[in-house]
Amino acid sequence: MKLSKTLKSLSLCIAAGLTVMAPAGGFAAEPLKVAFVYLGPRGDGGWTQQHDMGRLGLEKAMGDKIKTTFVENVPETADSERVFRQLASDGYTLIFATSFGYMEPLQKVAKLFPNVKFEHVNGFKTAANIVVYEPRFEEGFYLIGVLAGQMTKSNTLGFIGSFPIPSVIRNVNSMTLGAQAVNPKVKTKAIWVNTWYDPGKERQAADTLIAQGADNVAQNTDSPASIQAAQEKGTYAFSIDADMSSFGKKAQLSGTTEDWSGYYIAETKKVMDGSWTGNRHTRWGIKEGMVVMAPLNPEIPPAAVKVFEDKKAAIVSGALNPFGGPIKDNTGKEMVAAGATMPEAMFGSLNWYVEGIDGSVPK
């Protein structure tokens, strides 16, 4: 009896102590908990790897003021909802969802955790505690086109697409526009593999494009398979997400990569100083350093490099918009008038090919 009484009072004391301590000491010293949810493995050599480098960059910049975690290989299904819910209940107050397909699960979870801040890549649904961030990939692909258009001998470019969604269709279009800006004779062939990641199928698609005469192949899928194919066949290719030149030193001319750390640091700082707000849509490009071109292949002649650098500078200064008119679709109909730029609504729901791309967008 006596013992239990002592225990009881002791526990009361501790409980009282804790409640007093919590607001005083705990809060300020508590590091901000930031979580990242990845679609693929960190070692995918592409998309997810770049996000993880962004996370490490964030850790390096913020030191012990923050604590990060990540969950990898999270499918774009109801499974992801469980992961988001778990992270939110574990006290992570800033959560980066690094794949398009997390959009619907995120909407549900965000309603349940109004105090948690969610950041969704490439999506289009924001909320009071969801913001969307997106790189201006089209700038990178435009510059890929500028290089490919100068380097091609067959005047045929190839494009390996993942899924025919607006954000990928934009890239095949901007690549073609970039190539036509330097070489009006260029045609583009596009193949859709309906997967983000299947090295074998990507390889088959690359082999097919090369066999059909495309001597510069760009990709919007995740593995370096097409770089290898080009290396073997003696043609050119462009990497995506990461620098893939170790898979084809001669073949890779350049490519688009992403550096997410700047954005992740900026957003984390906003949460810490209380200036974070919802319902935002951030698009960063080459100017902000989110889209970075992979190192240029030394085989590219200096004159072509000069053209590339000029176009790049024009994009950074804002003088060049990859989707500046006049733009015709591949049936010859004018979609964007000369002097105008593509309206936001058309940009967001792009579902047609520009002039010079064979075939039609799969519908």
């Binding site: 995918d44 193949i191 299947d198 088959q204 494009l209 398979a225 290898q228 073997e232 170790s246 039609s360």
Partner: protein, 306 residues
């Protein structure tokens, strides 16, 4: 060059890993064991083959290491299901998950490193025949070995005495046991054989198809191999036809897209699966043959009373 040549070459390269994995699984299932761990064993084989080839500079060493790694993993499965009598479906699924994780773990430092692609062998005289030489005699050694493996498995299952024993065990382990055949030994050998071929299939991905190591690079091919075994009704010839058909239609749909045919890509992507299923279903349209061909004890544990 004739555009047909690269198309057929790509088909063969796409089908070969499926042939290895599916033929191995055919033998495993004919002995009455269902191993759903092909995907995991392929990935382990892919990473082991890649590491060994990088370390030794020899593709032969790589393929041997891949087979050994596949066998090692399959023996874990064998011990659990054959000795400890665990559920084969659950254990096989666990093996796949384990293989995915383990291969990612041991392969962490191998990502992004190159190896040379296994070169096609040139057969003097034959390889230089126009068109036909390009079509038939321009492949790497593993392609020819996969045909040899098919002939070997076909002969083993239908013509050899141990093959007969294996099939008997797959139909009725109790009867085979009663006449003095060792169910455990035969099933272990079958499981190990399936592990070796799955490992080789994996190494074919990481050394020939796309000579690199990236996590999860098999991208579901283990499951396709598994489906081929069922739709091929456990007959090696049908399994091989199915594998080439699958590879061929996959290749055809990419080709069709490159030519700008106005067909929805979702439909084209579905085509390899649909075509393979339809053709194999037509081959064995009599539902009775499926039932007759399916090993009667498939998936059931066997525990000898003696």
């Amino acid at each position: 060059m004739n555009p047909l040549v690269p198309m057929i070459a790509s088909t063969v390269v796409a089908a070969t890993p499926l042939i290895y994995a599916a033929l191995g699984e055919t033998v495993v299932e004919r002995s009455g064991v269902l191993n759903l761990g092909i995907e995991g064993m392929m990935l382990i084989g892919a990473v082991a083959g890649f590491a060994a080839t990088r370390g030794s500079g020899s593709d032969t060493v790589g393929f041997i290491a891949a087979a050994a790694a596949g066998v090692a993993l399959s023996l874990v499965f064998g011990f659990l299901t054959l000795n400890l009598q665990t559920n084969q479906v659950a254990t096989g699924l666990a093996l796949t998950l384990f293989g995915i994780g383990l291969s990612a773990f041991v392969g962490h430092d191998l990502a992004g490193l190159p190896v040379d692609r296994l070169a096609p062998i040139k057969i003097p005289g034959l390889s230089s025949i126009p068109i036909l030489g390009d079509l038939l005699f321009h492949y790497d050694i593993m392609v020819y070995l996969s045909i040899a493996l098919f002939l070997g498995v076909q002969w083993f299952l239908t013509k050899s005495r141990p093959g007969l024993t294996l099939r008997a065990i797959g139909e009725s382990p109790a009867v085979a046991h009663a006449i003095g055949k060792s169910v455990l030994k035969t099933r272990y050998l079958a499981v190990a054989f399936g592990g070796a071929t799955a490992g080789i299939a994996g190494a074919y991905l990481s050394l020939v198809q796309t000579p690199m190591w990236v996590e999860g690079m098999s991208a579901g091919k283990g499951w396709i191999a598994l489906a081929l075994v069922v739709f091929g009704t456990w007959k090696p010839a049908r399994v091989v036809i199915g594998a080439y058909l699958f590879g061929g239609v996959t290749q055809f749909q990419l080709f069709a897209q490159g030519f700008g045919l106005p067909i929805p890509t979702e439909f084209l992507s579905m085509l390899p699966y649909a075509a393979t299923i339809i053709v194999l279903v037509i081959i064995c349209r009599d539902p009775k043959t499926i039932l007759l061909n399916q090993p009667a004890s498939l998936g059931h544990s066997f525990h000898s009373a003696a």
